[in-house]
């Protein structure tokens, strides 16, 4: 065999998949159409954001690369939602795109067991229900035990700007044609999705005067749990905010007929999360203006990304539209906005390990599974990489449950529910988000990464030390009572907090919204010196104890349903199940009763019928 594992595609999914496989000791080959587009960011220049920041944290906890790479190459860092609860704090960084890509390539090039090679894969060889090799456009065949397909938006891609259609992948890259057909020959159902990107504008042609400035945080938070704030300190570059005008909306309305979205030229399903500006103007006609962010694409370039202005209008209309925005009156466009259409698969044909249900060793990760976003792609790539190795070694796959991580929610949504549009992670998709915070991703997932063999022992021990420090401090705090001294009441008065007349337990006092654990040190003489990250966890766990307990109870119930396994070979033509449910269940063959309950078209009554059936079956077996 030439390789243990072959990864097709060098985007965010492909990079994580290849690094994970190679780091776990598998001989790995990454094939990409262009080695200059390794970890390319063809759309927005940022990593993280709401719920995506959670994903990056989880990738880092599990031993992935994205968090460390953005820490090295960010030009602005900001914690979002800090006015809200800790569950929705979200870290986002603006990246220097070129450096991000270059740095990731450097990591790949210097990883043992990993070869990277420029080539287009045109065919897959499947023998006896298992993938055995890939064939490139040069006619070369590489044998492998497992293949991970991470082709992003390249399959049969078309880019549309008004009436003009180019047969390219993102950013003018060569597209992949033959692989779509090869997948079709294997009986893999393909879907057609659409997304888009705004124009880029020359910084020198923008008038920043009078535009709102958006600075990064004075003390940036690292994405990687291995980095401290001091490790990543640097000069940050601001973004700017402007707005569309009534003029903008007028131009768009007049020219809507020239948009391929409205003329019917685009057949792919669009994502609601990333609407084009013409979509926004049409669907939210009563909104007088839409917010527009001007974000630098890097330190060494004048190109600026115009967030919120994705469009597929013709280039001449685009120029007029952009110039109708305050600050952009004299702008020069460096790259036009475009819509991109591409083939992806219906991920419902995958297992939660991301392996195809019927073709052994064939894994899929990233945008080809119907997701959108760099972070969603990277998360899947990491899981697919680990699981390809586990498959080859006969180990159980690594599956993150919905109550364990956003990665679990993401993959379960894609695989169990399937998606009809490019899927974007959202905090509201996570049922137990108070447990799945970005601040505790290490406590949730490091152990799993360690067990998978990708997180080093030392890193794992650090997390376990942190876990113990937190538990010890919570135990200590539970025994502390704050007496009603003058000092205590002066402290409370200074924070607009009701004075105390009797002693109060520290664990009660901390629950007041206006107080936090760091400040309460003043009234807590016996507190040992603790790392900031420990204090943060103690603060959250004590302050929101009631809500956390409630979610933990809900999560326990969820886990119970997940633990009720469904045999893979179960025939769902069960008396009492509705016809639709029988079909859906026979197609999906869910792994657990919990997963079955999340399949669209399976009702709670069907689940009751299934539970009764399984119980009867179990009793019949016991009786044997």
């Amino acid at each position: 065999m030439d390789y243990d594992i072959i990864v097709i595609g060098g985007g965010h999914a492909g990079c994580e998949a290849a690094l994970a496989a190679a780091r776990l000791g598998s001989k790995t080959l990454l094939l990409a159409i262009s080695l200059d587009s390794i970890a390319m960011m063809p759309c927005n220049p940022s990593i993280g954001g709401t719920s995506k920041g959670h994903l990056v944290r989880e990738i880092d906890a599990l031993g992935g690369e994205m968090g460390r790479n953005i820490d090295k190459t960010y030009i602005q860092s900001k914690m979002l939602n800090t006015a809200k609860g800790p569950a929705v704090y979200s870290l986002r960084a603006q990246a220097d795109k070129a450096r991000y890509s270059r740095e990731m390539k450097r990591i790949l090039e210097n990883t043992d067991n990993l070869h990277i090679r420029q080539a287009e894969v045109t065919d897959l060889t499947v023998t006896g229900g298992a993938v055995t090799a890939v064939v490139t456009d040069m006619g070369i065949q590489y044998q492998a035990g497992a293949v991970i397909i991470c082709t992003g938006t390249y399959l049969n891609a078309r880019c549309l700007t008004g009436e003009r259609i180019t047969l390219t992948g993102p950013n003018g890259m060569k597209r992949s044609e033959a692989l779509s057909d090869a997948l079709g020959r294997l009986g893999i159902k393909l879907l057609r999705f659409k997304t888009g990107t705004p124009a880029r504008i020359d910084r020198r042609s923008i008038n920043f005067e009078g535009l709102d400035i958006q600075e990064g945080d004075a003390e940036p938070t690292p994405f990687s749990f291995s980095n401290s704030a001091e490790d990543i300190g640097r000069q940050q570059i601001p973004c700017h905010i402007t707005y569309t005008s009534s003029g903008t909306h007028g131009i768009i309305k007049e020219n809507l007929h020239r948009s391929p979205m409205y003329s019917g030229a685009i057949k792919g399903a669009p994502t609601r999360y990333c609407p084009s500006i013409e979509d926004k103007v049409e669907r939210f006609a009563d909104k007088e203006r839409h917010q527009v962010f001007i974000e630098p694409e890097g330190e060494d370039t004048n190109e600026m990304y115009i967030q919120g202005m994705s469009s597929s209008l013709p280039a001449d209309v685009q120029l007029r539209v952009y110039r109708s925005i305050k600050g952009l009156e004299n702008c020069h466009i460096t790259r036009d906005a475009y819509a991109i259409e591409y083939d992806c698969i219906d991920a419902a044909f995958l297992k939660l390990s991301l392996e195809h249900k019927d073709i052994k060793g064939l894994f899929f990760a990233g945008q080809i599974n119907g997701s959108s976003g760099y972070e969603e792609a990277a998360a899947q790539g990491l899981i697919a990489g680990i699981n390809a190795v586990n498959m080859l070694r006969g180990k159980e796959p690594l599956i993150i449950r919905r109550d364990e991580g956003y990665i679990g929610v993401l993959i379960d949504d894609l695989v169990t529910k399937g998606t009809k549009e490019p899927y974007r992670m959202m905090t509201s998709r996570a049922e137990y988000r108070l447990l799945l915070r970005q601040d505790n991703a290490d406590l949730r997932l490091r152990e799993k990464g360690y067990q998978a063999g990708i997180v080093p022992h030392g890193t794992y021990m650090e997390t376990e030390k942190k876990r113990k420090d937190i538990a010890d401090e919570i135990t200590r705090a539970a025994g502390v009572t704050v007496p009603p001294t003058e000092k205590a009441n002066a402290f409370l008065a200074a924070r607009n907090s009701t004075p105390i007349s009797t002693g109060i337990k520290l664990t009660e006092l901390i629950k007041r919204p206006e107080l936090n654990y760091t400040d309460l040190k003043e009234l807590d003489g016996g507190r040992p010196a603790l790392p900031k990250a420990v204090i943060e966890q103690v603060n959250i766990q004590l302050k929101y104890e009631g809500y956390i307990q409630r979610q933990m109870k809900q999560a326990e119930q969820f886990a119970k349903m997940e633990s009720l396994r469904l045999p893979e070979d179960l025939d769902y033509n069960i008396e009492g199940l509705r016809l639709e449910a029988r079909q859906k269940l026979n197609d999906a063959r869910p792994g657990s009763l919990g997963a079955a309950s999340r399949i669209t078209g399976v009702s709670p009554a069907d689940i009751s019928v299934l539970m009764i059936y399984l119980e009867r079956r179990r009793r019949a077996k016991d009786g044997e």
Binding site: T50, K84, Y273, T427, P513
Partner: protein
Amino acid sequence: MFAPKTYTREDVAEFQCHGGEESLRRVLAAAIKAGARAAEPGEFTKRAFLNGRIDLAQAEAVMDMVSASSERARAAALDQLSGRLSNRINMLYDSILTELAGIEAAIDDPEHKTGDDGRKDRINAIKQDADTLLSTFEYGRVCREGINTVIFGKPNVGKSSILNCLLGQDRAIVTEIPGTTRDILKESIRLKNNGLVLNLTDTAGIRKTDETVESIGVERAREAAAGADLVLCVLDGSAELSREDEEIISQLRALNTKVIYVINKSDLPKTLDSSCLAGADIICISAKYMTNIDSLIRVIEERFTSGKATEETVLITSARHAGLLRETVNSLENARIAAEQDIPEDFISIDLTEACGYLAKICGRDAGEDLVNSIFDKFCIGK
């Protein structure tokens, strides 16, 4: 008749027979001999539900229709069957979902400003709306099950006579269930004006023999009253209040049950001082001469027709629905308190999500999916 155009969506054979019990019995016997078995209670409806013919709320409505004991209960079941209840629940669900979508959109797109003023007031309004709907359950339940009424008082105040008077007022005795114990008797009558059924339980058998049994008697009366919709507390108007009476009255006041004090023996000179009953429903009757029984019935009817449950409102009649609505109200109350205390709104969202989850169980919706759709429908978010 062949599937799927039947009630159960399964093949169905129907027999239309000549009248007379004997011929019916023989047809049935022949069918069973040929391999048929008697349906379990509600089995046809269960099959209709399992085969996707009707949804859960409709299935429950059919069961209610079958067992509807009053005209109003029948109307409520019909409403539910036609989806009026589902519409009402959906309206409530949508209003919570809108609030939730506002919070979630702001979380997922923190840099886009969304107005969230007045959240506390809106949540409070939704909670009151849910409360109003829930409050119809009391009436909805008595429509379906009848008003469980307990008559009690000391021995010899005329409890049995009053029971007989009430039964005599309306000869339409619906059921006659012998008491489960030797000393409790149950009878049902239908009220004239609102068609509700009055299920009367006479505690006449509770007798004072010695001190121990007396205390047991008071205890049992209290238990019966606590579980009832209505207590008719009978007092002897011709005698002064005894210590026993006073104890009974104070026990009743501590309960949440509706109480009507029936002061009997109005044909005799009034000795009873009723000042300690101020504010309560009092009616003076004479069971012996059947005077004022009409007024007693009118008072009962008034106590169970007034309020928010007018003909136009949907009625909650199922205990399952009421239970889920009660959970909804609790979650909304938690959300309201959280909003009042300025707790970050993603915590409020936990309570609202719970509330949506409970309502989704009544109308069988997927709350997670609905929320994501609502966010995109109502808010312009995204890159």
